[in-house]
Symmetry: C2
Subunit: 170 residues, 2 copies
């Protein structure tokens, strides 16, 4: 392999990271547009009878996104209290949850914080281990990197977002 | 850059492709498990009142996956007739659609065909243009490659799969 080829390879590595960040950003942009258009009342409804409310899913997605900050070793969660309310506990747990307007703000704050961090991460950062895998395990399983977390979080996010689309009145 | 570094970079390029194919495969495995457990009657219901039926979404996902075969220049679609029924037309269009058992078989056939093709594709294949972008445009927009199609199809697939999860009785 000569240097010219190596440069092309490097560029593809960066390209795929950009593609994956773009896919994440697109989804968050769609969610932001959706939240702009949906009322608190619509958001409080169940996505399908007997299923999660939009409120719960919004809190859930914020909590899961927030957990990436810690999982990537970028700092502390902005709203650690959301984990118990929207990840550990199911919907309608009887626990006191933030108001819908607070949940909207928290979603935007976490998205914005993640975006800020992502824009500073290098290609090598993305291919490095996330904080839930040990150095030893990572040596054997190099796919357990931060980029893979982003891939699975993107699919997870879109899954719940498509469920939330059912909240919008036709 | 020396050769050793170049090798690491190459390996990461292959790694990320494997990660993305694995993410696609995981979703299709979950769908297969889901289809094993859900009855035709449950599948024929609406995911939420007034929304798409599971039958339509199954046909839709099969049609969209099938279109990747052509979009990647790998051959002809297995079931070209599905496009008009499940992409161009909405649910309950009045058009005659295949039986649910046929739709189940077609889903598995397309998934299996794609898996076969994916396993033969090289890293460079994945970073090459898909068939809907011209060589000229691709030179300016190198992110319009096959891997990016897989990324967006994976998110799309999971979105509809999460909607279909609402069909399973609790």
């Amino acid at each position: 392999m000569n240097n010219e080829q190596a440069e092309i390879v490097i560029s593809e590595k960066e390209l795929v990271i950009n593609m994956l960040i773009a896919a994440w950003d697109v989804q968050n942009k769609r969610m932001a547009d959706f939240l702009d258009k949906i009322s608190d009342e619509e958001l409080a409804a169940e996505c399908s009878p007997g299923r999660n409310t939009g409120t719960y899913l919004l809190g859930h997605l914020t909590a899961v996104s927030d957990s990436m900050i810690k999982l990537f070793g970028l700092g502390d969660k902005l709203y650690p209290e959301l984990e118990e309310l929207f990840i550990t506990s199911p919907d309608n747990s009887g626990k006191t949850i933030p108001s819908i307007s607070t949940l909207r703000e928290q979603y935007h704050a976490v998205t914005s914080e993640l975006h800020k961090h992502f824009s500073k991460m290098t290609s090598d950062d993305w291919f490095s281990r996330h904080m839930s895998v040990s150095t030893e395990d990572f040596a054997k399983e190099p796919h357990r990197n931060k980029l893979n977390v982003l891939i699975s979080r993107t699919a997870h996010f879109n899954g719940h977002f498509y469920q939330m689309l059912y909240l919008k009145k036709k």
